[in-house]
Amino acid sequence: MQLLLESLFNGVAIGSVLLVAALGLAIVFGLMGVINLAHGELIMLGAYTTYVVQLIFKLPALQPVYNAYVLVAIPLAFIVSGVVGILLERTVIRRLYGNPLETLLATWGVSLILQQFVRSVPLAYAAGLVLALVLGFSLPIVLPGQLLDRPRARLVRAGSWLVSALAGVLLAGGLASQISRIARATSRNVDVTAPKWMRGGIELSGMIFPVPRLVIIVITILAVLGITWFLNRSVWGMRIRAVTQNRSMSDCLGISTDTVDVLTFGIGSGLAGIAGVAVSLLGSVGPNVGTSYIVGCFMVVVLGGVGNLFGTVLASFAIGVLTDLIGAGRLLSIWPSMPAPLASVVDFFATTSMAQVMVFALIVVFLQFRPAGLFPQRGRMVEA
């Protein structure tokens, strides 16, 4: 019983990391059909945002509320990755709708650019740049409308960009002078140190549940619930689904498909940012942190059935449980009297490398029989 429970917990823990990482892709790839190879780098940006937030919380003034940095990091990571995602959609992807191959190549290029960006640009300046961009884009929205209607609207716009740029420079300079560690470009991986309450494990009837894993599971559940609510209950969520199901009809009915595209991509990217907060709890944060998740993300979305959130959830947990069952050699402990030839095969696959091979092979075999995944999209074809 305990064995089964531990195995299940481990499977869910591995699965929830996959799920939180793949959730954004399930939106972007699943609903919009965009193959975004820069998804991993959006996760990375979220992780770096967490790191920056954590550094800011380490300043003496904020020390007492250090424990709460995650609560700030999650929305901020959502915003940072979301904004970068929106920029990406506006500048690159929008021009390539309907050309999957070009999208794939372009987003791959973007992913390389983003990786090299974090390698070569000091964190302090990057933070300043992000602040400037966020402010620059949000100021025209926040400013009273009549200011922008006047003949000098251009001046106001230019002025707001100037103010944003200044704020960015100030932040960069301020951070660089306060925390020397982020003042120079370093390709070295950085580490997010979780507060005390988020480290260690909870012991329960002889089993230890690592707290970071529990936190990730909670983040994942909240993210899944949030996005399900948003898609099913909110007005914009319904519009997104409408556009997914029939773009031209939605367009005719007065839904701004352009806005829907931006919103969908922004939310998908923002979710990648939240994934970044989650993975920063497990390992270090570096330029390559996203690349290690991207393959798994696509695997999960394809296995679950493109365009089906529930499928993504199930596929993540299936892969998680399988990885643990095979990789940790649990089959042998569950069934100790396994015949010797079988046992030796199971033992052979009971290493992390071979388990990964085995899981991928199983997925390939499964997709031979059900090419559209666990839950294929039925009914009217999406965007034929």
């Binding site: 991986n189 494990g201 230890i208 270090s284």
Partner: protein
């Protein structure tokens, strides 16, 4: 070692084309230090971009520092002429074929007499054929798995018997987990697999037990299954030998602590690729109480060691650290200088001959170049402290002779390497 040098395989070599190359500093004489008669240009080849840049750029820093120190002290003296050392830095870009390509460029185009370079075994394996075919010279500064002994490479890092073997013995005999079983964890590539093969044989010979091993594919940071296996295999604690690479260490140490595999609960990790730099990246709070084994540790309390550390900090910033790989890189520049002066020539064959037997007072203590192109070095075992340094618990009495061919691994047992004897060479039976 007492074999006369004349017995060496000199015959055809003198005629071989790869000659000495001293690039005159064309037109630059006005700015050049007038104390120097000429300039010699050496090659530095490390990754300045890509995943390995993090580690390898520190070696470039150290090599530059050594070169500048030598220049400040009067440069290299050959044939009564004083040479200023100049360098060309090439980027291997964390890509192994690029290392080979850039080596060819340095040798053929820039005509450097020596290249200091490499970090990963994969990059070394890619460069080796280039240096052998051109009879050129590579100095390689990293502790590695051994099982190689090229006439064209000088290895200034530790061989397994200068790192993992004393470490395994220490863990089995003297650590708090003495006598307990071992579990081996590594990244899935050549160094951890070879190193662990040796460890398994050694633990068996010591009378201990290895109860499991697992390898994490490079780039993968999901260590939950490995932790489950360790818990199952070592229910009452034990020794974990860790040869994970780079950032996989962070995931591993963070998560074993969360899972309760801590020194307090009887789980002790001995790591072979965690030096001071890595400790500060991972965070000492995750590593406190675990172990490491190196030839050089920043906490060595000798004037030479302290000077090395303080010079480096003075040059590159006070938050910088020095660690074993950097010390190796530093040593090799000085060893090359000493060999050139002893040979009184930049000629590869003469320098190679002169190198054997050269002694150098390194920051770690005295080192000597041995006939198998490796260094005899002191081995230290340290426990990681709160402030991210090693508390040195054990130190060999003087330098340990390097074994290029491992004596625990069945395929190389009973073999050795000796380039001073034409009849022995790369691999001969003892």
């Amino acid at each position: 070692m007492n074999v006369s040098f004349s017995k060496r395989l000199v015959a055809g070599f003198a005629a071989t084309a790869v000659g000495v190359s001293i690039t005159a500093c064309g037109g630059g004489d006005k700015t050049a230090n007038t104390d120097f008669d000429d300039t010699v240009t050496v090659g530095i080849l490390h990754s300045l971009s890509g995943t390995m840049a993090i580690s390898e750029s520190t070696l470039v820093d150290t090599e530059k520092m050594a070169i500048e120190e030598i220049n400040a002290a009067g440069g290299v003296e050959v044939d009564g002429k004083k040479y200023k050392i100049d360098y060309i830095v090439e980027d291997g870009a964390s890509d192994w074929p690029t290392f080979a390509e850039k080596s060819e460029k340095l040798i053929d185009q820039d005509k450097v007499p020596v290249v200091f370079g490499g970090w990963t075994s994969a990059s070394r394996k890619a460069m080796l054929p280039v240096y052998e075919s051109k009879n050129a010279f590579l100095y390689y500064p990293i502790q590695y798995e051994g099982q190689e002994c090229s006439n064209n490479i000088f290895y200034t890092g530790a061989t397994p018997n200068q790192q993992s073997e004393p470490a395994t013995k220490f863990m089995f005999e003297k650590s708090p987990a003495a006598g307990k079983p071992f579990f081996l964890v590594g990244s899935d590539y050549v160094f951890p697999r070879t190193s662990n093969t040796i460890t398994k044989e050694q633990v068996k010979a010591l009378g201990g037990k290895v109860v499991g091993e697992d390898y994490l594919p490079l780039g993968n940071t999901e260590v939950a299954p490995i932790i489950a296996k360790i818990k199952k295999a070592l229910p009452d604690g034990g020794v974990i030998i860790n040869t994970l690479n780079g950032d996989q260490n962070v995931a591993f140490f963070k998560q074993i602590q969360d899972a309760g595999l801590t020194p307090d609960n009887g789980y002790y990790v001995m790591s072979y690729s965690i030096a001071e730099e890595e400790i500060s990246t991972i965070g000492p709070e995750f590593l406190e109480g675990h172990y490491g084994a190196w030839n050089y540790m920043m906490s060595i309390d000798t004037p030479a060691s302290k000077k090395f550390a303080s010079d480096f900090k003075a040059k590159y910033g006070k938050d910088r650290q020095v660690a074993d790989p950097q010390e190796s890189a530093y040593n090799m520049v000085y060893l090359w200088k000493a060999a050139v002066e002893k040979a009184n020539s930049f000629d590869d064959d003469k320098v190679r001959e002169a190198l054997i037997g050269i002694k150098f007072d390194a920051p770690q203590g005295p080192v000597t170049v041995m006939p198998n192109h490796h260094l005899s070095q002191t081995v230290r075992i340290g426990k990681i402290t709160k402030d991210g340094q090693f508390e040195i618990l054990e130190e060999t009495d003087g330098p340990v002779a390097p074994q290029a061919w491992n004596q625990f691994e069945p395929s190389s047992k009973g073999f050795a390497c000796d380039w001073t004897d034409a009849n022995k060479g790369e691999k001969y039976k003892l």
